[in-house]
């Protein structure tokens, strides 16, 4: 027998470790002596531990082609995921932004990218392109496509006409519209949201006023919260509140939770809030990734002392989200099976007339997979490089025990190896901290 390559060991204390199979989802606690049987399993028939390790598929038959089987599993899951995910069109209305956030991953691209403007003619081109692109990918057929307005900042007053044009086109087709905004000029757009049945607005904060106003230069926490109050009074608009989280503001999370509770937003079924670690791809802030394990550890301590932070979900915490699933359902999630949204069923449209599949590199023409304006064209090879990229073939990932739960996390990382080790460390640290905390909180250790 041999070990599964997806066995991941997390040391709990001197005597015990958790053994996790990130592919099958098996999780067990073993003594150090019992774990020795993973390497020393010559006599399975007479040893209960070895039999158990085999039954739980930590040990597999020597002739099992685990890579082949994993590929089969991944293909089936990915196909199912794509068939259950609506087609997403991300429209970058502009690369320009009225804020100058201290950590922004797009900031260094602003100078040149924002000069090319989106037009209503281009928007018409986007909608007709989406109809053509539908045949290229698998997606949830019985659900309307989702159009996400993105930037830069999509809700700039000077672009109100463009925004209205997009929303009108969505409404005409009964497509679902989402807007990802910094919210600073939101009050100028309120009249459009109900008129055109906007489905969801995502707004980001960085903390209470004393933190938010300093980091998101040009934005005010107070006026943002007032705008959200207004949005939640509307009948249909859902509000997703993203709270950027890092070591410098995590201590303020209970205060933000308190504010949300006092405003009674948590009672509103159209409100959803989550904590998100600052972006992975910021080239100037590699340290943010290095801090991720510490951040999780600190978050778990805060959650213990201030349970009100449970009103937040946690999204984008690669590694920890698997443990969160374990906490909530008693199981690790199914393998992720895809690297990121770029190999699901998403298209990103930029003011340059380009079609991309990754929103985070949309400012970079070298990543484009086609164009929608002035003419529609798709480069199938370029598209395939993203869409068909196989997480099991990622050079730095294919032998990693965390692969089924992480899948590389971001195609930009897998292309630009400079940050790879930071990313991998953060995933493992987040998973390990989370798992140890899980066992502790469940009284299992």
């Amino acid at each position: 027998m041999k070990q599964s390559k997806y066995n991941h060991i997390v040391e709990i204390n001197q005597n015990k470790s958790a053994l996790v199979n990130t592919l099958t989802g098996a999780v067990d606690i073993f003594s150090v002596e019992q774990l020795d049987y993973l390497d020393n399993n010559k006599d399975p028939s007479h040893n209960e531990v070895v039999q158990y390790l085999y039954k739980r598929q930590y040990l597999i038959d020597d002739d099992t082609d685990e890579s082949y089987l994993t590929q089969q599993i991944f293909s089936a899951i990915l196909q199912e995921q794509r068939r259950n995910t609506p087609l997403r069109g991300v429209i970058v209305t502009t690369f320009d932004c009225n804020l100058r956030c201290t950590y922004c991953w797009q900031q260094h691209n602003l100078n040149n990218s924002h000069r090319i403007k989106m037009t209503t003619g281009k928007i018409d081109g986007i909608f007709s392109s989406i109809e053509k692109l539908m045949s290229m990918v698998e997606y949830k057929k019985d659900t309307p496509p989702v159009i996400q307005l993105f930037g830069g900042e999509p809700l700039l007053v000077e672009n109100k006409g463009l925004v209205e044009h997009i929303l009108k086109e969505c409404q005409k087709r009964h497509w679902y519209s989402q807007i990802t905004t910094n919210g600073s000029q939101l009050s100028n757009f309120l009249d459009l949201f109900e008129k055109y049945d906007v489905g969801e607005i995502q707004i980001t904060i960085d903390g209470p006023s004393e933190i938010h106003d300093k980091r998101r230069l040009g934005s005010s926490y107070k006026s943002l919260m007032e705008s959200i109050d207004l949005l939640l009074q509307m009948d249909k608009v859902h509000v997703k509140l993203r709270v950027n989280t890092d070591l410098s503001n995590i201590d303020y999370i209970p205060a933000i939770a308190g504010d949300i509770i006092e405003r009674q937003w948590y009672t509103n079924r159209k409100f959803f809030s989550y904590l998100s670690p600052l972006r992975d791809s910021s080239p100037d802030n590699v340290k943010l990734l290095n801090q991720r394990g510490t951040l999780i550890s600190k978050f778990l301590n805060i959650r213990e002392a201030y349970p009100q932070v449970e009103i937040f979900d946690v999204l984008g915490w690669n590694g920890f989200e698997a443990v969160k699933n374990l906490e909530n359902t008693g199981r690790l999630p199914f393998p992720k099976a895809h690297i990121c949204d770029a190999n699901m069923n998403q298209f990103v449209f930029t003011p340059r007339g380009e079609i991309h599949v990754c929103a985070e590199e949309a400012h970079d023409s070298s990543g484009m997979v086609g164009s929608y304006w002035p003419d529609f064209a798709v480069n199938k090879d370029s598209f395939s490089r993203w869409y068909d990229k196989n997480p099991l073939e990622l050079q730095f990932c294919k032998n990693c025990s965390m692969l089924p739960q992480c899948c590389g996390g971001c195609q930009l990382f897998s292309q630009d190896k400079e940050f790879i080790s930071n990313f991998c460390d953060s995933v493992k640290a987040s998973f390990d901290y989370g798992l140890k905390n899980y066992f502790k909180s469940e009284g299992l250790i």
Binding site: Q233, D235, G258, I261, Q264, E310, I311, T329
Partner: protein, 441 residues
């Protein structure tokens, strides 16, 4: 006469649902034969005070009745009355409902409120309308308060309606867009328990008055005239209070062979397996339970005949019968200490995968704690009626806890409630066990 009956907007609302203004529909049913009645549901339709006033004036009414049930609608009700009177002093204004009943002295003294009906208005309100219409005297109308000769006059209380079957069904057809409202049925009035934080017993009387099963079934049949009734709820304070009756209603609903699913309120100590079987078989999908505390000591003080363990048993039973239980808890109950609150947290954590509503003890008008705070070891802090809210601020110092600490413990309880809601482990386990049980059976 032309009469507008208003469900006023709330100044601060934590409920974001549309609710049928059943009380107004009952009153409308009593007077619709002789008068032109318009129901304006500003609460659910999110009409502002200004919009409500404009609507009333546009309708050229003779009488305006506002149902002030919640504290959060107390100020808006007064603002609507004042706005209407300032434009047309000839319009007669009548205030009624739960909060109005307990604030009758203050309301009747206001220059823009002509009458207050106290308690259930099924007899008082039509009698008052008749007197207004005929120019007759109101001095013999029971259950009303009004200002006369420099003082507020409170006529004697109106006896409760003993036979609820004599009341006409709610005039739902007078509610604009009625077809979009979830339907509510009141199968009984009153509550036998008399909890210190609740004004139900004071408003409806401590007795529990029930409608006949035939009468309830007739109303359901009426709602299902086009075989189109998809859902409804029993709006009683405790639908399961008399198990035999509950089961009888369920059996009769089942006979109707309707597609509608419904929900109701319940008390832990009344729930048995055979009742859940009856409820589930008749289409009941959810039951709301006011648990209040996870501390055995506090539950005993509240006169509850169940333990935290019983709550868990009922939770498990409900889920195994496909009924979603909803629970609610109160933080800051009389004599509650931190150890009791920790037990509440602990219970909430165990009620995984379902909604646990968390609230703070609040001295609403008419409640025993507001009437006799010292009896419960409470100090009520200065407040206005419209400020009172179970979810934002504590207005009470108990002998054990300050208002500030109650707010902190409340926020933590909200966190535990979210934590429990996100978790589905126990529900998965219970469901799997009940499926296995069925297979074995």
């Amino acid at each position: 006469m032309r009469i507008a009956l208003i469900n006023p907007p709330a100044s601060n609302r934590y409920v974001h649902s549309i609710d049928e203004p059943l009380g107004l529909e009952y009153l409308a049913a009593q007077i619709k034969a002789e008068h032109e009645v318009l129901i304006i549901d500003s609460f659910s339709q999110k009409l502002s005070v200004k919009e409500t006033i404009e609507l009333v004036l546009e309708f050229s009414v003779d009488v305006v009745g506002i149902s002030t049930v919640f504290s959060s609608t107390y100020k808006t009700s007064k603002d609507i009355f004042e706005g209407i009177k300032s434009v047309n002093p000839e319009i007669i204004t009548v205030s009624g409902g739960n909060t109005a009943t307990f604030m009758a002295e203050e309301l009747a003294a206001l220059p823009y409120v002509d009458y207050v009906t106290r308690g259930e208005g099924d007899i008082s309100f039509p009698a008052l309308i008749k007197a207004i219409n005929s120019g007759g005297s109101v001095s013999d109308i029971k259950g009303i308060s009004y200002y006369c000769k420099d003082r507020v006059v409170h006529n004697p209380d109106q006896p409760l309606v003993n036979d609820l079957d004599t009341l006409p069904f709610p005039a739902r057809e007078l509610l604009p867009m009625s077809e979009h409202y979830p339907k509510s049925i009141l199968s009984a009035r009153g509550c036998a328990y008399g909890c210190p934080y609740c004004s139900t017993a004071a408003f409806w009387g401590k007795g529990f008055r029930v409608r006949s099963v035939d009468n309830i079934i007739d109303e359901i049949k009426l709602l299902n005239t086009d075989n189109n009734l998809k859902s409804f709820s029993f709006a009683d304070d405790c639908f399961t209070l008399i198990p035999k009756r509950t089961k009888e209603i369920c059996a009769r609903i089942k006979e109707l062979d309707i597609i509608a699913q419904w929900n109701c309120t319940g008390r832990i100590e009344t729930i048995t397996e055979d009742m859940l079987e009856a409820l589930s078989g008749a289409g009941c999908m959810a039951i709301f339970f006011g648990i209040e505390s996870g501390s055995k000591r506090i539950l005993e003080k509240l006169g509850r005949r169940y333990s935290p363990e019983d709550v868990q048993k009922v939770y498990k039973l409900c889920i195994s019968y496909g009924i979603t239980p909803y629970f609610s808890f109160i933080i800051g109950l009389p004599s509650e200490e931190l150890t009791d609150i920790n037990e509440t947290y602990s219970l909430i954590e165990k009620l995984e995968g379902v909604e646990n509503g968390i609230h703070m003890l609040t001295p609403f008008p008419g409640t025993p704690i507001a009437n006799n705070p010292s009896e419960y070891g409470l100090e009520i802090l200065p407040h206005s009626i419209e400020e009172l809210d179970i979810n934002t601020k504590s207005f009470i110092n108990t002998e054990q806890l300050s208002a500030k600490s109650i707010e902190e413990y409340f926020k933590k309880a909200i966190g535990y409630s979210f934590k429990a809601l996100k978790r589905s482990r126990r529900i998965n386990q219970i469901t799997a066990e009940s499926i296995r049980g069925e297979e074995c059976g």
